[in-house]
Symmetry: C2
Subunit: 347 residues, 2 copies
DNA sequence: ACGTGAATTGGAAGCGCTTCCAACAAAGGC
DNA sequence: GCCTTTGTTGGAAGCGCTTCCAATTCACGT
């Protein structure tokens, strides 16, 4: 039983067409009769045929190289799970689809950051780039990259970038709404929100969702206090006292990511406030952080690995699939509230 | 400037040999005169030639599929950084070297866990397997996999597995020694150690290192208390009170991984003990956890991503390189004590 | 000097796929 | 009814590499 994997020729033989035609079907090429297309697909299914990405990329020409661009400074956070998860997903996608990946961390404060991006295209010959926030919100940058003939996918784009290129993300507004809704069900009426840096559009949308849920429950601006952090644990630590001491006395603290929620938790413990009895705290993203704080964090799951993989798939479909010139599309992935131990009935 | 990447034929032409010979040199094949080998290498360098992994794998035959085997139950810890980091490294390696990777989580308690491993070979046709602990300590399993013609690399192997197959890891004993040494320098004389599960060899070696450092400093068994956890945050939380209440009154708590240290930290805070003024706490691994606890954790960096990549490289060298039948070798990667905020002078 | 086997080198096929180009059929336009 | 256009299909080359096999060289033993 030398179960050799079926090749494109096996499919061609079984469906009675030429190899060329099978290739066309597989790549959503034009000029194939529906009847033939169906017959080929049937053979593909019958044989459980999978294209060999190595062979495809060898034959296909081009560099088959994609770039993943982060804004962070690798030195300062070499181990961020956000980055790892996205890269992990992107790598899996590349392996499946026969692409190579280069990951580049280009700090926002680099004077020549745009140039570094263009070098990825000119020198490294990337055929597609994946931008993470806040690069994914930089319409001018995206437009210029596209102008140079390089494809783009934006991760969690917030603004204008969304109309220029394909995007992948979750519905941040709905995520904010869902977690708020849950807290309202638990009887909470006084809220605090710890947001992200100015201009981080996707984090701002989580706040929009929170506000919508509040207003549906008959609550308004006077029932919510807001602060801005920078997504780090540290900023969570620094901002929490201000929230706790506010005359509003919130019973629920909604954070725009898990790291800040973890920071808040550590301050709260220090003050003897009981979580979740006295105060509910929620995170966002569902990174491993949520499992290693005490109590484990109730949060919103963001499918980072899937996002990375989808981003590669979108790039691939632009590059070889039938979507070469299609309208930009946004892939919205499912999120889910993950109930752990930091959200309970209002005191 | 159509800077096409150089191919093997360019190298062959420049060095005045046949393509076949270049291929031999590149793959550490036998039967090439040293003089020719040098000439080819020179051309490689001059052209900055890199083999095209896609082409190589197409031509090379075989499935070019590697498997990464974890013992964990994916359901229970879908987001562990330990797993992500190892997979990330392995994935990078595969992309560079033209291999495919399947990642499989096979819980230790599965009745048919061995069978699941063998299926990876028989059904999926993996040519090489990477075992993580504690599979990497299972000599019988490794021997059987090898017998079936599949290559093996062990991650952090502790015992007999080390002699059967190639291994990748760090010097755990030295890691334990280094962190203990640092604490001793800081004046600590009474220690607590929070270890891992019974039989996890690599974690036990960290304790060995600690003990060696103590004895060099003239300290002995009466200056150290030990407990065993299971590497989870939770177990850190549960075990810490016992350590704090011990009559020895340790001033330094050395943990066998970061998660348990994080658990310890949260208990310590709750009791009003100041870290690091009253108590020093150290972790192990340098996962992102170490940056999101307060104060940030002093720990030992374990190069997990590099380990994943090295594992793939070792497998590759067995599969196509000249090391087909070489003696098993252990790749020991560098570790480093990372000083953050949880270790200070003894009170 | 000649044969022999081992070491070294080159030629050529072919891995599984895409794509250029030619072939052919169907559909209109005059 | 013939020529062009458009749509659909197949033939064949070739991507960059490994590897089988044949050719050549080399070092000895006789």
């Amino acid at each position: 039983m030398t179960a050799r994997r079926p090749t494109i020729d096996d499919v061609a033989r079984l469906s009675g067409v030429a190899r060329t035609t099978v290739s066309r079907v597989l790549n959503d090429g034009p000029n194939v009769r529906d009847e033939v297309r169906a017959r080929v697909m049937e053979a593909v299914k019958a044989l459980d045929y999978k294209v060999n990405p190595q062979a495809r990329s060898l034959a296909g020409g081009g560099s088959r190289l994609l770039g993943l661009v982060f804004a962070s400074d690798l030195e300062s956070e070499p181990n961020s799970f956000y980055h790892s998860a996205l890269e992990l997903g992107a790598l899996r996608g590349c392996l499946e689809l026969g692409y190579q990946l280069v990951t580049r961390h280009i700090p926002l404060q680099s004077a020549d950051r745009e140039q570094q991006v263009y070098d990825l295209i000119a020198t490294q010959r990337c055929e597609g780039l994946i931008f993470t926030p806040p690069y994914s919100d930089d319409a001018a940058l995206i437009a210029e990259v596209l102008r140079r003939g390089c494809r783009v996918v934006s991760i969690s784009p917030g603004g204008a970038g969304r109309d220029l290129a394909d995007g992948v993300g979750m519905d941040d507004e709905a995520g904010g709404y869902d977690i708020a809704r849950r807290l309202i069900e638990l009887g909470h009426r006084r809220f605090a929100f710890m947001g992200g840096i100015e201009g981080h559009l996707s984090a701002d949308r989580r706040l929009d969702g929170l506000i919508r849920a509040l207003s549906e429950a008959g609550l308004g601006a006077s029932d919510l206090i807001k602060v801005r952090g920078d997504f780090t644990f540290r900023s969570g630590v620094e901002l929490t006292p201000r929230l706790l001491d506010d005359p509003l006395h919130p019973t629920a603290l909604v954070c725009a990511n898990d790291d800040m929620a973890a920071g808040a938790l550590s301050v709260v413990h220090g003050r003897g406030v009981k979580v979740p009895q006295d105060l509910s705290v929620t995170g966002f993203d569902d990174t491993p952080v949520s499992a290693i704080v005490w109590p484990p964090l109730t949060t919103v799951h963001q499918p980072l690995k899937d996002m990375g993989r989808r981003a590669v798939a979108l790039l691939a479909s632009r590059l070889t699939g039938g979507r070469a010139e299609a309208e930009p599309e946004f892939n919205c992935l499912d999120h889910a509230v993950v109930e752990r131990g930091t959200a309970a009935s209002a005191p």
